[in-house]
């Protein structure tokens, strides 16, 4: 009888934990952070400064992953192509990598825009000049995501 009660309590505890985890998951919204810079800010740094920059950003990303806030993060090459279409004819324009470009992105889980903004502000890249992060909520569309 005592064992049965212990088992029941254990089961209730597990179910409670699971339902809390589910409600925590439900509260999380998805955000894309587009990291903008004027040209490649990192190549302007000395090799020592570049290494330090990578270490700081790497640690920030690791911490986001550990706390369950990170879905994805990638730096981007500076080159790229912009594709357009007018009346069925495609155009291809090479990007000007010396202008304001997206140099990387984060895919973040946060409760709301306020938390997403606080996470962005903690990015150690802001210890250097010339960075901007545009935060955009991911939209839920039936049939797409």
């Amino acid at each position: 009888m005592k064992n049965l009660m212990l088992c029941t309590l254990g089961l209730l505890f597990t179910l409670n934990c699971l339902s809390q985890t589910n409600s925590e998951k439900k509260a999380q919204n998805e955000f894309m952070y587009f990291v903008y810079s004027d040209g490649n800010r990192v190549t302007d740094l000395s090799s020592k400064q570049q290494q330090l920059h990578i270490q700081k950003i790497g640690a920030y990303i690791q911490n986001l992953a550990k706390t369950g806030k990170l879905k994805d993060a990638e730096p981007l090459e500076m080159e790229g192509v912009l594709i357009g279409s007018k009346k069925g004819v495609f155009t291809e324009v090479t990007l000007n990598k010396d202008k304001r470009v997206i140099s990387g992105y984060y895919h973040i889980l946060a409760n709301d825009m306020a938390e997403a903004t606080a996470i962005a502000k903690a990015d150690p890249r802001f210890e250097e000049d010339g960075w901007e992060i545009v935060i955009r909520p991911i939209k839920k569309v039936n049939g797409i995501n």
Partner: protein
């Protein structure tokens, strides 16, 4: 296979003046394209974005926090692709049926491999 990010850009919402049926047809076409690319192993992820947002920057020792109020060209969604090279990524982008429905632009960008980051 290499990784590419494709940023889908538009001025406003090109399908805003479509009838509900046409909008549904557009979503079905784009959804079908995404499904096909996922099944062929060319797409890792695809997400549309809300039009609002926030901009964080840092100037004179403090963070600046502004609303995202872009009225011209904005990123309305993205694809995370796998392709053998930039040419194949461009060909995949051109196959997106959204180009049949209004003015869209797609920026194709290779993901950079950096030790300690990805």
């Amino acid at each position: 296979m290499k990784e590419f990010m494709l940023f889908i850009k538009s001025e406003g919402n090109p399908i805003v003046n479509f009838s509900p049926e046409q909008q549904q047809e557009h979503i079905q076409k784009v959804g079908g394209f995404i499904k096909k690319m996922m099944e062929s192993g060319h797409m890792k992820s695809a997400q549309p974005l809300e039009t609002e947002g926030s901009i964080v920057s840092f100037k004179n020792g403090k963070h600046i926090d502004e609303p995202f109020n872009e009225t011209k060209e904005i990123i309305s969604g993205y694809y995370h692709l796998m392709a053998k090279d930039l040419s194949e990524a461009i060909e995949i982008a051109k196959a997106d049926p959204r180009f049949e429905d209004g003015d869209w632009r797609i920026e194709v960008r290779p993901v950079m491999n950096v030790d300690g980051i990805n």
